[in-house]
Amino acid sequence: MLFNSFEFALFLPLSFLLYWFVFKKHLKAQNFFLLAISYLFYGWWDWRFLSLIAFSSLVDFIAGQQIEKSNTKARKKLFLWISICTNLGFLGFFKYFNFFTESFADMLNMVGMQTNPWSLNVILPVGISFYTFQTMSYTIDVYREQMKAEKDPIAFFAYVSFFPQLVAGPIERAVNLLPQFKIKREFSYEQGADGMRLILWGLFKKVVIADNCAIFVNEVFANYQTASGLELILGAVFFAFQIYGDFSGYSDIAIGTAKLFGFDLMTNFRTPYFSRDMAEFWRRWHISLSTWFRDYVYIPLGGSRVGKGRAVFNTFVIFVVSGFWHGANWTFIVWGALNAVYFLPLLLMGKNRKNTDTVAENRVLPNLRELWQMGSTFGLTCLAWVFFRSESVGDAWSYILQLFTLNHDFNVDLPYSIYLTLPIFIFLEWCFREKGIFRLKTINRINRYTIYFSIALCIFLLGRFNNQEFIYFQF
């Protein structure tokens, strides 16, 4: 079930009304209902994969309890590894099996040993990378004694499968989300209204910005061999907006939907394209994943508080693994490595925490220096997106080489709605860079409602409702 589908437009209000009018009296009833609708939401794609998520939840539920009960470190470690191996095993089998066998066969072929790779025709379960990471964070936190093991299976299963963020994040930490399943939720007008604001803004980003950009981007990337330099530059720039609108739009709808049910999820994006350097970009882009890797991989490896060589290695590992998390393709690995290359000079010069505030804070416009910094960071990001979007590294490389041709013909149809909406989107994003959509709460009612109606009108008139999937579902 997609957030931008007709089914979800029925599912959400029905679930909302049942949740607050029928199941509101008892915490257990609330959790049980959330679990039931989350399984329905997930089973809508393919009910067979429900067994996978149920098994993963069961293993982690038992592992968490056993870790807490164990008296010895070795026994704790054993259950932690059972949890990690189960989750990574599922992920490895469903997502990476074919990649590893094919890459291994390619390697053998390169040294002259002809082999036919044995690949499986497996379907990638939607959102597997998200929920396995979320549930792993629970067992690791219990192991580190940062939280108590959960005793209530319904609360735990509902936490793992919580439908707003189940298939594309934000990847929640157990310490933040699980305790919210332990307190009976009461409806708050403020929280509900914030939820609706986020859903409205998220839908605008997805169906107006991302899906309109997608038309142009798909055309350019499918025919890049014959496209001009100008078309290719615009293809990369529009893809930057497409993936941002798509993914941050999903996150906004997810966070907004969770608010409607009385939950607060973590922020996943904070206007990343207004970053002044790559380190700032990575503090603002897909925050739930970057902080997951920081907390569970980078810091355990020693982080940056080690020798320079080791710090470089750690940084490289974190970016490459992060790229690989996105998909079983060398393009994602190169994308990750390229971002590491962008990031490393800042780390080595000790400038990676230079821009921790918001650009042009308390000012209307940025200064020239900030403008240049934002422009160059955006340019580097777009270059890296070419690898992310291409089918293969070879395609990406050809695309980039072709990009520098002097041919500036423009023969691709660009949806005209983009001319109108993209500047408005960039303007609103600039206005929202400090407080997000909640900035609107500070302006007077007439202006506020004018903006809400305008956004709703854009969604209605210019949005594309042809059930275009969210890009991050494939991860």
Binding site: F453, L461, N466
Partner: protein
């Protein structure tokens, strides 16, 4: 909770009413031909095909010359929407009022609608565009039409009229072009159009699926009346290009239509077009008369 639901319902209701009212009052006063055709009532007889037919075949003239029992509606669209495929056939069926077996269907065959880009051979791109994408046509105001990614250049079509439009849709669906064309403008239009079609010529290949679906469309419509295929006159430059692309097109059409094929390509020198593709408004009645005469002859009336 009460306050939240009340405000949310109020927002939704006001938004729906305002949009509905706006569409109802203004969306038909200008030249969004597609919308006007989609919301029209069902008809028994049709003129189908591309913009060549949409602009070039007048239903009133056909009715007068053929003494038709039922009104005939011009349900032709642009060449990228009126492509013979499953979704266009479905759209036609949704508009069809099943009267008896005395209906008449004039299907204009634009050669370019039988050719597709090789990348599009595994799909039917027209299915995402109105009228083919509309599940509930024949309703006004039609929210579905406007919510399907209404594109920016069309927005001016639903802004209150300034009385300076270059075209309108008459009550039986023909798009009437009121703009005046002098020879310089026509030359310029033909040049631009030929450049576009020359590019198209190099990038398309024959799409057999389109021929198959045209046959299916004819078979379906034949249940309700007589079906005729028509090839409209175009500018000489366009005809040369089309003959080069598909020299045996006429034979194929003749075979598909069981001989009920009215070929007006030989009139390409007689009638001047506005852009190489569409005949001028002043010739519409006489071209339609020729079609009517041919139908009369074939039906031996």
């Amino acid at each position: 909770m009460g306050r939240f639901l009340f405000k949310l319902s109020l927002f939704g209701t006001i938004f729906t009413i305002l949009c509905g009212l706006y569409i109802y009052l203004f969306a038909t006063n200008k030249s969004d031909t597609i919308y006007i055709k989609i919301i029209s009532p069902k008809y028994c007889s049709f003129i189908l095909g591309s913009s060549r037919a949409s602009q070039g075949i007048e239903p009133l003239v056909l009715m007068k010359n053929l003494n038709l029992k039922h009104e005939i509606y011009n349900y032709a669209f642009t060449v990228n929407r009126a492509v013979w495929g499953p979704s266009h056939l479905k759209a036609i069926k949704k508009k069809l009022k099943k009267c008896d077996t005395s209906a008449l269907f004039i299907i204009e065959c634009n050669l370019w609608s039988f050719y597709s880009k090789s990348s599009k051979l595994n799909s039917f791109p027209e299915e995402n565009a109105p009228p083919n994408s509309i599940v509930f046509p024949n309703i006004h105001p039609n929210f579905e039409y406007f919510s399907g990614g209404y594109d920016f250049p069309n927005l001016h079509l639903i802004i209150p009229s300034d009385g300076k439009e270059n075209s309108y849709v008459n009550e039986l669906g023909r798009m009437v072009i009121t703009k005046k064309f002098d020879s310089t403008l026509i030359d310029q239009n033909i040049k631009t159009k030929m450049k576009t079609y020359a590019n198209k010529f190099n990038s398309v290949i024959k799409d057999e699926r389109r021929f198959k679906y045209l046959s299916e469309t004819i078979a379906e419509l034949s249940k309700y009346g007589e079906v005729f295929l028509v090839r409209m006159p175009v500018a000489n430059e366009m005809l040369v290009l089309e003959e080069e692309l598909a020299p045996k097109f006429d034979e194929r059409m003749k075979a598909i239509s069981n001989g009920r094929y009215i070929n007006l390509k030989y009139l390409s020198n007689t009638y001047i077009t506005t852009d190489g593709n569409h005949i001028q408004n002043k010739y519409v009645d006489s071209v339609t008369c020729i079609i009517a005469d041919s139908v009369n002859i074939q039906l031996k009336r």
